[in-house]
């Protein structure tokens, strides 16, 4: 493997670092796979005061962040230094969920003395790992509806991404592999594996061993992961986990759909305080524009909590995805027409 041009921390300018990150092909490894160099470009007139390193798993079942924090803490701190330099933030907060106290302790113990920052424990609650939730929990700031984290002077980066930056940039290498949690009832040897990017799903599953009656495989966790249509697709940079279910374990999701009984579970569950019940009824009536204009549909980040808790098994988040698509299409049509 041939190394590229290293990008030394001390001598490089922020622009050079960003270019190096782009060169290395680093994207958000939490699952969204958003190009990191785009995220890091702070436009004129904006500034960042706090950098948050997201060590809260994005989904239940997944434990990649945990392993990375325990095993790659040195890479993480190097990565943090790069990120601080790029963003101009004054301090860094590493957010860890309370059930991973060992990782937090390890990070605290190895925390470099010259870094301004801390390691914070967070309540264990899905979707704690979502950016918006972290800002609210750690800084008490909320990203304005329709806005970006930059609007509240914060920047969030996944631990795995940070670790990759810290590992790759000094060497001038590109991203070639990533840590993936392979789990689910159908998997025989569950665990975190470092997998070369591009590995076909079938190789991976053969390696860890799965039950005969495996029925459903998702790339990602069970809440937001997309279903794999075939075992011949490859692992990508955005694949944070692979979850495999058997027929028997998927039973619950086949329950009949009842009308909404207004139990309010979804209202309690929605992390951004939407009213999924009302949105669901509106969606059933095709009132997409009402949903968007009056009930903040577009703020929904599709965590799936509402669908998860719904005792009537109404596919709420699924409806919202469709509604959002319809709204976007309508908006595009409108601008296209004018």
């Amino acid at each position: 493997m041939e190394d590229g041009t290293p990008c030394p921390l001390d001598t490089s300018t922020p622009d050079e670092i960003i270019a190096a990150i782009q060169e290395a092909g680093v994207v958000g490894l939490g699952g969204a796979a958003f190009p990191t160099h785009v995220k890091l470009k702070v436009p004129e007139g904006k500034f960042v005061d706090t950098l948050i390193i997201n060590g809260a798993e994005c989904e239940p079942f997944l434990t990649t962040d945990h392993r990375v924090m325990l095993e790659q803490s040195d890479d993480i701190f190097v990565g943090i230094r790069y990120l601080l330099k790029v963003s101009g933030a004054e301090k860094v907060i590493i957010a860890v969920e309370a059930n991973k106290a060992d990782a937090a302790e390890h990070l605290r113990a190895t925390f470099p003395g010259d870094l301004n920052g801390s390691v914070e424990l967070l309540r264990v609650k899905y979707p704690q790992g979502a950016e918006k939730m972290l800002f609210a929990a750690l800084l008490g700031r909320e990203v304005p509806s329709g806005g970006l984290p930059l609007d509240i002077h914060a920047l969030c980066c996944n631990v795995a991404t940070t670790a990759e930056i810290g590992r790759l940039l000094p060497l001038g290498r590109g991203i070639q592999e990533r840590v993936i949690t392979v789990t689910g009832p159908a998997v025989k040897r569950k665990g975190n594996y470092r997998i070369p990017i591009g590995t076909p799903l079938r190789f991976l599953l053969e390696h860890v061993g799965v039950e005969e009656d495996v029925n459903r495989v998702f790339l990602g966790g069970p809440m937001m992961g997309g279903a794999a249509s075939s075992l011949d697709i490859s692992i990508t940079k955005g694949t944070s986990g692979v979850t495999a279910f058997t027929d028997s374990a998927a039973e619950r999701t086949h329950s009949p759909v009842y009308p909404c009984i207004r139990c309010g579970y979804c209202v309690d569950a929605c992390p951004i305080f939407l009213d999924p019940s009302l949105l669901g009824r509106l969606a059933a009536n095709q009132e997409f524009s009402v949903m968007a204009e009056r009930h903040n549909l577009m703020d929904c980040f599709e965590c799936g909590s509402c669908s998860f808790v719904c005792p009537s098994h109404i596919p709420l988040v699924q409806q919202f995805r469709a509604a959002k698509a319809a709204v976007r299409k309508a908006a595009a049509g409108k601008t296209g027409a004018t």
């Binding site: 009308p259 009302l278 009824r281 509106l282 059933a284 009536n285």
Partner: protein, 193 residues
Amino acid sequence: MNQESLWSIFINASLVNNFVLAYFLGICPFLGVSSKLETATRMGGAVTFVMLVSSVCAFGIQALLVAIDAPYLKLISFIAVIASTVQLVEMFIKKFSPALFRALGIFLPLITTNCAILGLALFQTNKGYGFVQSIVYALGAGAGFTLALVLMAGLREKLDLAEVPDVTKGTAMALMLAGLLSVTFMGFGGLGG
């Protein structure tokens, strides 16, 4: 002269003998504008206001009619005065408060033939209410009308999104809701005593 206390008049007019739910007065606007909360609130406000004004007018006319001993002109003068008062109020609001006019404007002409207004004027004279009693009566009736309208609007907006059977859709369901609200308001019976 009627001796009823003001509090009792108010409770009776608004809850116990609610104009809409017990006397069926103002059903047309009740069914017509109660499908959206916003219009319902505005309509309620407009009706209350007109009720207040026409209650005062009716009190004056009744005194006049008694003085000239012409009871047979009661109905004609009431309706004429209410209609012209509404017109005047409309012009007045239009001139001095365009914002209010935008909010209430389209409802005012509708109110002219709203039986709740005429009903109020007739009832207050039949009951022999004094001036202050009449005003309280008008306020109570207006509050009751608004309450019924607003409750109804809430229920109808909610049921808008329901999978209502085809037979029930529309007026039939609104009437059924009104009936259930009327049953609910029966619980207030005896409160004004």
